[in-house]
Symmetry: C2
Subunit: 139 residues, 2 copies
């Protein structure tokens, strides 16, 4: 059974299980931000994935990028640049961030990781964003 690191679980909200990854919404209104976690245990690096899984991962990264753009559009803050990153310095379980950036966002042009403190979604807002992200990830 797929085990999700508890730190990824508490910092994000379940969206959908894609063929390879679990997609989650980062619980931080400052950015349109989706995290993809390949649903295989024991992965730390991209090289730990089989070639077919790497191809699927790339497809899911593009799909997450479309969903991140949709979230930004719906908030009236269209994404100007996508940031895609697999770091894992804090949580070693392999996960990939897809973050929508704008030149007026608080960390621009620096990276978002480790920048300030996350700001939670209000409950109603979270529901709407989750629904929108799911619709776009499944498309």
């Amino acid at each position: 059974m797929f085990a999700l690191d508890p730190r990824l679980e508490t910092s994000s909200i379940f969206l959908v299980d894609l063929p390879l990854c679990q997609a989650r919404l980062q619980a931080d209104v400052r950015w349109s931000w989706i995290v993809l976690i390949p649903r295989r245990n024991g992965l730390r690096e991209l090289e730990d994935l089989a070639p077919d899984d790497l191809e699927e991962l790339m497809r899911e990264i593009l799909s997450a990028g479309r969903a991140v753009r949709a979230i930004g559009d719906s908030a009236g803050r269209p994404v100007e640049k996508l940031n895609v990153g697999a770091l894992g310095n804090v949580v070693a379980q392999l996960h990939i961030h897809i973050v929508g950036r704008r030149s007026d966002d608080p960390a621009w042009p620096g990276p978002v990781w480790g920048f300030g403190a996350p700001i939670d979604y209000a409950a109603e807002e979270a529901s709407a964003v989750v629904a929108l992200a799911r619709a776009n990830l499944k498309a």
Copy 2:
């Protein structure tokens, strides 16, 4: 003809042209760090690449990761975690960073991008690292 952004050119050293990307060594001794730039003009996002190019990009990212590990090993500083990132907030031309991280490096566990000022390689050291990286990228 492929045009490289002058900011990428001055911050890094040519290594080799792979089937898709130009591989360059980031001119910063603080980290084992390779940058891949797909040799197509006008690219900004991963989604701008054709599906075949995306597959090749993933192969070249893994290859760059092996070369980054070899650089770390040769310096007696084995890589503990790879960081892979496509940001492009400063230089929009699509480029992918592959960075070797260690828990004793200056920015750990934060991201390297925008952290402090780069420290150039000494000329002799650069030649050795370039030769090692080339050998590993071609393997």
